[in-house]
Symmetry: C2
Amino acid sequence: MPFVNVTEKAAFRPDKLSKVGLFDVPQMFLDLYCLEPGQEQKPHIHTDAAKVYYVLEGEGTFVMGAETQTLGPGHAVLAPGGEEHGVRNNTDARLRLLVAMAPNPSFP
Amino acid sequence: MPFVNVTEKAAFRPDKLSKVGLFDVPQMFLDLYCLEPGQEQKPHIHTDAAKVYYVLEGEGTFVMGAETQTLGPGHAVLAPGGEEHGVRNNTDARLRLLVAMAPNPSFP
């Protein structure tokens, strides 16, 4: 289906960050990341793929290369290919992120 | 800069849809589309690129292949490569869309 209600797709896990797949095509994926307080995506690198985060709810502390910023709703972050990146929820509230990555690593 | 305040980037044009570039890398771009009432992106096709729209504010009427849906904030739309797609603001209020496309046609 080409249409999705992202808000309704929110699903959190007590043990770790929850990644909810929204769209999957060879050129890119769109996911919803749901992070309870204290959860994180550890800093990592994709050599040839770019990732964009967009904050929907809550505040995320983003590591992007040598920079760290804590951002709330309406902010976006770019991780170019080869750049170390990660995000952590250091708050007491839930964090929801829209995440696009291109190309899609699930389509080799 | 890898961080951007998307909300502050909103910029509308009286004559046509306004596309505000947020991020540009070879694998993808992230834009903010701002549509005044009555403005549209006419249905068109990208043979080998995929596009995702996410509604930030207002309501957009999306054409995606043979389907048409009017969607508000929190909804996302996928246009796979080769699929005709477009969006129109048929309301009396402004429409803001987050738009990701992969790969980025500006990097041949």
